[in-house]
């Protein structure tokens, strides 16, 4: 097969960074950042997801079609979340006659 083979060193570094980010996100959770604690926690989670997907799942070696499909899948998830939230939070804004 045509995949380039990554070195153990590369994988080990990714693994160590992932463990570090887990410790970091756990520690930061105890600091009062107000509304930003969600943002920080999810940012760290997204970075971890990217590390796993790009290195462990070899997405950085995948062809353009696969990358595009993965991106499309995430876009669909974003649509699900955004449109549902838009509905849930804006439903009460307009008065409905007779209610």
């Amino acid at each position: 097969m045509t995949h380039p083979i990554d070195s153990v060193k590369t994988y080990a570094w990714v693994w160590i960074i992932l463990l570090f980010l887990t410790a970091l996100t756990t520690a930061v959770a105890h600091v009062d950042l107000g509304a930003f604690s969600v943002v920080v926690a999810l940012t760290i989670a997204v970075v971890k997801m990217l590390l796993v997907a790009l290195f462990f799942m070899h997405l950085r070696h995948s062809n353009q079609l696969t990358k595009l499909v993965v991106l499309g899948g995430l876009l669909w998830l974003a649509l699900l979340i955004m449109l549902t939230l838009a509905d849930v939070f804006s439903r009460g804004w307009l008065g409905v006659p007779g209610r």
Binding site: Y11, T66, L80
Partner: protein, 221 residues
Amino acid sequence: MASEAHVETLALREQFDTEAQQNDASTLGMWVFLLTEIMFFGGLFMMYTVYRAVYPNVFGLASSTLNEIIGAANTAVLLCSSFTMVLAVRGAQLGKRRTVMLFLVLTIILGLVFLGIKGFEWNQKFQEHHVPGPGFHLEGTALQGQAQLFFSLYFAMTGLHALHMVIGCGLMLYLLWKTYQGTYSPDYYTPIDMGGLYWHFVDIIWIFLFPLLYLIDRHLK
């Protein structure tokens, strides 16, 4: 080559022109399956987001009763299993059968450790009466219904994730057996590659479950 007939092998089935084409098709197919899994879990993540936004106080209180140290430890276990999994795939790329088997066994063991810790946590929930149902009680709030909603989502999400772990361990056992039989070679190790994609995907789900369930209202405590 493209239009000629070729001898069929595991690495090059009749319907494909080249080994690279077959490999690309397998990878793309596996990712499409994983995307359906994203939408499957996505519905639960969606529901969690909406109810957390609608009932922030009780969800924060309920979330803070979870033990974040156990959650972090379990995350570490799962990340270690992803590391051993990727080394198993690397072993397969190099054609090192014993290495593949060693790391598959380690991956299964770490997967079982994760499930063990999860089981310990669920057992604690039963003892603390934090399991939705007639015996449910969460200290510090009169809104028991909203609190049960949190724990219903907790059990649904971690339960569905654990089910994927059990299936993953089953897949690894199958791959271990086939590797032992000598089915795979550097020319053909697609099942190990795809098994790896599945395992890492389940890891990614947990990477999001952990902060969302355990961490994001921890500072309010």
